[in-house]
């Protein structure tokens, strides 16, 4: 038989081309550009000092503030890959989760200084609520075949209403150190606690994807639903799972941002974060039409976005111009 004209396996492409061809090249490039521009404009951007057993500096701020976004971007990546659409309700689901969590902790009071119920109960309730939201989205998308953006539009509008319903329209404060701690910096830990949440989420999700065939299933369903069905994949189930995961992750993000402000602010928690999450996914080099995905890309995308925001704060760009980039 004729030899195909293939590159012999041993021969390597030029280094720069291999780097440029890597799927993480563009997202990393963006991040580097943002950071470099800092180096020039605000030299002390990279200064890191240690205070009270805590690292402090702009870079730490970026890593810290990006935590929720990273968590959301992970979920958004899965949803995008499997269903070829985005979940725009994540911000609202964060609010629901925060509301449920704080309401359980406060036992219905507007402001408390001790837990009314154990924290673990509150967190479980919050995650359950957000998983339910995810399941609802998943049901509409996977079972009813409604386009993702429209299906999640429902919770996007309803979510904050539900959150307000839970908190009775008030901002519920939980002024308990054991709660604040999850959203702040603990002496001796070097990094603020939210950072660990983000790392844990990324690790766990990538582990699940590595250690099960879920990743392959998601890509397959996202690329060609018909063909996937014929090889025995249950596309409905897989999409549904991704929405539930996305919901739970939004719940975790909601918990983190509510712990930061030790309160449930139904109107503002996670506000407009869905757009940032989608942008992170796109910046990460993922196709918004579904199919192959890269979690690492999305995570880098998320950090890039936060780096940009913090940069603008650091440069003291007037708030009016903030949105112009």
């Amino acid at each position: 038989m004729p030899e195909a004209k293939l590159t012999p396996p041993g021969q390597k492409k030029p280094l720069w081309r291999r780097i440029a061809g890597h799927h993480l090249f563009l997202p990393l490039l963006c991040l580097v550009i943002v950071l470099l521009s800092n180096l020039i404009k605000t030299p002390d951007f990279f200064a890191i000092t240690i205070q009270n057993g805590m690292l402090r500096g702009y870079v730490i701020d970026v890593v810290n503030r990006a935590s929720e976004l990273v968590i959301l971007a992970v979920g958004m990546t899965l949803v995008t890959a499997a269903s070829g659409g985005q979940d725009i309700s994540v911000g609202a689901v964060m609010a629901v989760s925060a509301a449920v969590c704080c309401q359980v902790l406060s036992g219905g009071e507007v402001s408390v200084t001790t837990f009314s119920n154990p924290l673990i109960l509150a967190v479980l309730a919050a995650l359950l609520a957000s998983a339910l939201c995810g399941a609802f989205n998943g049901f509409l998308v996977a079972k009813m075949h409604i386009q993702p953006m429209v299906a999640t539009l429902i919770l996007y509008t309803a979510g904050r209403g539900i959150a307000q319903l839970v908190t009775n329209g008030q901002i519920t404060y939980v002024r308990v150190d054991a709660y604040k701690m999850w959203g702040s910096a603990l002496p001796g830990l070097l990094f603020p606690v939210p950072v660990f949440f983000a790392i844990a989420v990324v690790l766990i999700v990538s582990l699940v994807i590595k250690k099960t065939a879920l990743g392959l299933y998601i890509e397959s369903v996202g690329i060609n639903g018909n063909a996937s069905r014929l090889v025995g994949l249950n596309g409905t189930k897989i999409k549904w799972i991704t929405y539930i995961i996305c919901g739970i992750l939004a719940g975790i993000a909601g918990f983190v941002s509510s712990a930061r402000i030790y309160s449930a602010d139904a109107n503002n928690i996670g506000l407009n974060l869905e757009m940032d999450a989608i942008l992170a996914v796109a910046l990460g080099g993922n196709i918004l039409g579904g199919g192959k995905f890269s979690l690492a890309g999305s995570v880098i995308g998320a950090y890039t976005i936060q780096a940009l925001t913090t940069t603008l704060y650091a440069m003291n760009v007037s708030s009016d111009q903030l949105p112009v980039y």
Partner: protein, 506 residues
Amino acid sequence: MENKIVLSMQGVCKAFPGVRALQDVSFTLRHGEIHALMGENGAGKSTLIKVLTGVYEMDEGEILLDGHPVSIHSPQQAQTLGISTVYQEITLCPNLTVAENLFIGREPRRAGFIDWQTMNRKSDELLEKLDIHIQPTQQLDTCSIALQQMIAIARAVDMQCQVLILDEPTSSLDDDEVAKLFDLMRRLKEQGVGIIFVTHFLEQVYEVSDRITVLRGGELVGEYNTSELPRLQLVAKMMGKDFDDLAEIKSTRTGNPDTGRPPVVEAKGVGHRGTVKPYDLEVHKGEVIGLTGLLGSGRSELVRTLYGADKADTGTLKIGGKQIKVNTPLDAMKHGLAYLPEDRKNDGIIADLSVRENIILALQAKRGMFKPMSRREMEEFADKYIDMLQIKTASRETPIKSLSGGNQQKVIIARWLLTNPDFLILDEPTRGIDIGTKTEIQKLVLRLADQGMSVAFISSEIEEMLRTCSRMVVMRDGRKVGELSGDDLTQERIMKTIAGGEKAHA
């Protein structure tokens, strides 16, 4: 005497990452000739055509049209230069009507606005002329692939062109339609159109073509007059080695299958409203059963109900003697069924995934989400089948979409062989596959049957089925109209049963 040269390509080179698809290939086409472009899967035929029509930019080389150098950067430009093309993969828009697909870009207009009436009327005439019986107002995705292929041809020939390119137009057509197409091609040839014709069917090449250009591994082997190149030599040139004749296959066919034990598959009154009328079917261990019938007679639909791709709404299905419920393909797979769908692009390949992932996907799905294969295991499986089926790919990590059509098909076959099924359903497995591999696949089917696998085989080529099948089911208009086996398995009997009139015995 020689006609004038209409098109000539000189020293064309084209490389994809990891693959040199074309290397210094030259090609000439004359007015009023049918020029067959031949080669194995992945030889570079489609790439040559896509370079010519501006889908790909070539790396080197030049194109002369009527003696003038031209540079073509888009299919649109090719069209304006009088090159009209039917690509190997159907390139029509599923969301538009048949008429629009025929006329888009050159719609008849009145006062600047599209004149739908005229367009539909003209489409009707055009379809009528080609004996395609559909409504021009029907949406394209309601048409079968065969019909879509005919529509694509109709679109191409209706355009005023001096060069017509047909890349495997006959792969999903039945004999009648092929004949119609050939009539058409001859007519165009008389009008002086130069036609490039790609196919894997040798008979067709000898039936219509005047000259043959052979490619192998991206390189030009040579250009020959059809009348001066015997078949065996052509095959030898394509493969680069001598070819052991197909006749050998026949002898390997197994005798009577084991009817003592319960059949592997037993369907009673299985049907699906609107596509297949309720039918009975038994398949025994080690048997190769063929399904035949005219285009659109419902062969695909029948096997789809067995596999659960379309959920049957009547009847019962027993597998291995046990009655089972098949609601989804996964149920069928769990009971040892495997199904190679006919529509490779839409139902077969997962375009962006690698060859490796495409191969292991079905087995992985069968094992379940929580029992993932290790990377090593996957690579071993992939390498084994790439080797076994001689899949031509830059590496096992190449996305399947950048393989040539025939090689994609092989990957899908590999996918199902890997699940080691008891009953393998092959719907047009040899479509778009070169003659060497085709023989390999037929041999493979027989070997598998010898090892005890049962196979259902659907093909548009009756000879191919005769060579491999021990029993044939004949379909007409979504109904099973007969079964033939043993001495009844002759082309003549089959044709008669298809045509009806004679009652075939079960």
